[in-house]
Amino acid sequence: MNTLLLLAATTDAASLPSASTFAPAVDQTFLLAAWFAVFLVVLATGAMLLVLAGGRSSAPAGTGVLGSGARRVVQSGVLVSVLLVAGFLVHGAFVWADLQVVPRGALPVQVALGDKGWSFTYPNGYVATELHLPIDRPVKLRFQAAREPYTFSVPAFRLQVPVAQGEKRDAWVQATLAGEYELFSTLRPASPFALATAQTVVHAEGGYDKWYQDISGPPLDLPPVELGQRSYQMRGCTQCHTVDGTKLVGPSFKGFLAREHKLTDGQVVEPNDAYIQESIEDPTAKVLAGFEPVMPSFKGRLPEPEIKGLIAYIKSLQ
């Protein structure tokens, strides 16, 4: 009965993709232990049914002292179970060591979980809200300390990494199957991190490099105005700044340089190259009246030619 149920259910569970180098190893251990468990439970159930069916027999009452045959079976059972424990441990140690030792040359990605959810920081400083991974290349995940403990769990990778409160740790993964997989924290459903979910995108061959090139920004050898325009589109500026004069979260770039602007503290600022550069690198230093100091700093995240390009692009919009 329960075996049938188990088989029926595993077909359902088998829909879980096997998308990392760990998945086959963890599945192998899981299946090994599962079949052993099913074997023992079926054995125990069989013994139970035999005892129940064989009751009220006319055999003489037992003394409770095992015959030498039975005792030998029990003793060898104990020996076999100790050997099995040792076998399980040795097998487990190999898989575990593989999980722990980050291969050399793995691509480093910083992973953090905060009140706004997951963020993934790439070597070029780009911060993504989805985890993008290349296929068949090891990636080193550097987990950042957080106010709350969390786990990084991607069932498709059979990977779960617990990160203690306020502590950092490293792990690694090598994806083997392109696709999008669910990522979440299994811990502390009561906290703001409650089951924080994100997508994991494993790019097909070559896809990751193209994605990485895109997030790395426009080619720096473009003419300044065109470079600035591409940067404006790629760096997320469009979410808050328009180029047609419409006011969003931030001021529109159109006509921005045409007149002086009032700041929240009452001072007046002349919009020039220096002010634009300062507003990109330290946006809350001089906030225009009527706007909130909500822009993130891009200090260190944009190469110098790109900033120059943005300034040139804004100037071109007058």
Binding site: M1, N2, L5, L6, A9, S15, L16, V26, F30, A33, L40, V41, A44, A47, M48, V51, L52, G55, R56, S57, S58, A59, P60, A61, G62, T63, G64, V65, L66, V73, V74, G77, V78, S81, V82, V85, F88, L89, G92, A93, W96, L99, P149, T151, P155, L159, Q160, V161, P162, A164, Q165, G166, E167, R169, T186, L187, R188, P189, A190, L195
Partner: protein
């Protein structure tokens, strides 16, 4: 004198004594261990019913499609866990069956220290009342294992629940000390008998003592954890170091240093009961052998030493983790020894097949399933992947419901004729036992598989592909409720009907 055939004689005597004092009032201040057992059973019965209905709600919510209220769900699973762990799983067998069986097993009229026994019950009842207040007025929402740092910042009024746990920890110390004293004292000469050696004690007395020893020794560790949390919450002291890294790990280490042995004690008490049921069914003495007592000793040691499995892969060194993993796996060996020995003993003789024996055999299957599921959780590659998932929930329930609750029922059916002075109605009892057997599997095999899908525990939100399994699990938990209610009714009916039979005879 400890064989089950001798117990019959002792039963007659104690029944006669009990009848002099029984019929007045509930027995809130009774020093009679049989009546105290009845009080324990009353409180536990209520907690069990409340707890399993909460469980059904927990299983139903994810598949019902009803809009999830995370806070309500948290309160529900927390109170479910607190009530069933602290009022049923840990104290049920010592509280009910310990009081009924142990004095007879060692040839005593009652526990060694009746007043301490009463104090243990009063502390237990105080804990139950505090949980009731918490349930009605301020349900905790931190999970029964008090998830730090949320347990520090939670504003749900968990102080009531913490106070209840404190009261129950004190109760465990009192009742544990009493069991050990009773067993030790029973060896003295007197009442026209000679002093007895340790080897004359039945296996069940050893197992009850081992359970009591572990429970009483572990409980102060829980007190420490609770005091740390109280101090941290009140702001009196930075006791857990809430602002320094690893607070969750530090508190969990304290908590599970108590928790792991506490559930070891739960299983030791279950072994005591089931061994007695088996020996009685086979009509033989429940002899303690060097092998079986060594197995108990190994379980005692491993239940303390193996606590590290609860923090596997969370920052300890590789050596520590490997050690914890090895100790966790080795825990299976003494259990396997006892189970195989008993099966051979059962196969070797004529058996009286009773509902108690059926539950005892179901216990063996469940112990096997729960123990094997535990292997996944201590084996490094699968442990890392399955922690905090439903797999851990299901494994725990195989032991707490499948093993401990089933052993409780085995023991209750076993002592029912003498304790309740009623004849067990075997047909209904067997049916309930069968329903519980399949119900536990239908509820928890899918839950194990949900864990394999990565489904986090303690949430009503399901991961992809989890719906069918969650539905099976809800069906199973409904079956478990039906089985438990049926077993309870079956036992009560045997008393009610026999009473009305007697009344009918009197009328005629």
């Amino acid at each position: 004198m400890s064989s089950s055939t001798d117990i019959g004689v002792a039963k007659a005597g104690s029944a006669a004594r009990a009848s002099e004092t029984t019929e007045t009032g509930l027995g809130l201040f009774t020093l009679d261990s049989n009546r105290l057992a009845r009080m324990y059973a009353l409180v536990m019965g209520l907690a069990l019913v409340a707890g399993i209905f909460l469980a059904f709600g927990l299983a139903l919510q994810p598949v019902s499609g009803a809009p999830a209220d995370p806070e309500a769900y948290r309160r529900m699973y927390t109170m479910h866990g607190l009530a069933l762990v602290f009022l049923v799983a840990l104290p049920a067998i010592p509280g009910v069956l310990g009081n009924v069986m142990l004095p007879r097993l060692v040839g005593e009229e009652g526990m060694a220290w009746p007043r301490l026994n009463l104090l243990a019950f009063h502390l237990f009842a105080t804990g139950a009342l505090l949980f009731l207040v918490a349930f009605l007025a301020a349900p905790a929402d931190t999970g029964w294992s008090l998830e730090v740092p949320f347990a520090i910042s939670s504003t749900s009024g968990i102080a009531w629940s913490l106070a209840a746990m404190l009261s129950l920890a004190c109760s465990f110390v009192c009742s544990g000390a009493n069991v050990i004293a009773t067993v030790v004292q029973s060896r003295r000469a007197g009442d026209g008998r000679a002093a007895r050696s340790w080897s004359e004690l039945p296996f069940s007395a050893w197992a009850f003592s081992a359970a009591a020893f572990v429970q009483a020794l572990a409980a102060p560790i829980l007190v420490v954890a609770l005091v740390l949390l109280f101090a941290q919450r009140s702001g009196a002291a930075d006791a857990i170091g809430a602002s320094t890294p690893g607070a969750d790990l530090r508190f969990d280490t304290w908590f599970w240093t108590w928790g792991h042995p506490a559930f070891g004690a739960m299983l030791l008490a279950a072994l005591a009961v089931v061994s007695e049921v088996f020996a009685s069914s086979a009509g033989r003495k429940n002899t303690a052998t060097v092998g079986s007592v060594s197995a108990l000793a190994a379980i005692v040691v491993l239940s303390f030493a193996g606590a590290g499995v609860h923090v596997l892969g969370r920052g300890a060194s590789a050596g520590d983790d490997a050690g914890a993993s090895a100790l966790g796996l080795l825990t299976g060996v003494p259990f396997a020894y006892l189970v195989t020995t008993w099966l051979f003993q059962l196969a070797g003789g004529a058996l009286r097949v009773t509902t108690g024996l059926a539950y005892g055999l179901v216990f063996l299957v469940m112990l096997c399933a729960g123990g094997m599921a535990g292997v996944f959780l201590v084996l490094p590659p699968t442990a890392a992947y399955l922690q905090n998932t439903c797999f851990a929930t299901a494994q725990f329930h195989y032991l707490a419901v499948g093993a401990a609750l089933v052993a409780l029922l085995a023991g209750v059916y076993h002592v029912w004729p003498s304790w309740a002075r009623a004849t067990v109605r075997e047909g209904g009892g067997m049916l309930a036992c069968f329903l519980l057997f399949i119900g536990v599997h239908i509820a928890f095999v899918p839950t194990l598989l949900l864990g394999y899908l990565g489904q986090p525990r303690r949430t009503g939100a399901l991961v992809a592909g989890a719906d069918d399994l969650a539905l099976w699990s809800a069906v199973g938990s409904a079956l478990v409720i039906v089985a438990v209610v049926l077993a309870g009714w079956n036992l009560l009916a045997s008393v009610l009907y026999s009473a009305s039979d007697e009344a009918g005879k009197d009328g005629a």
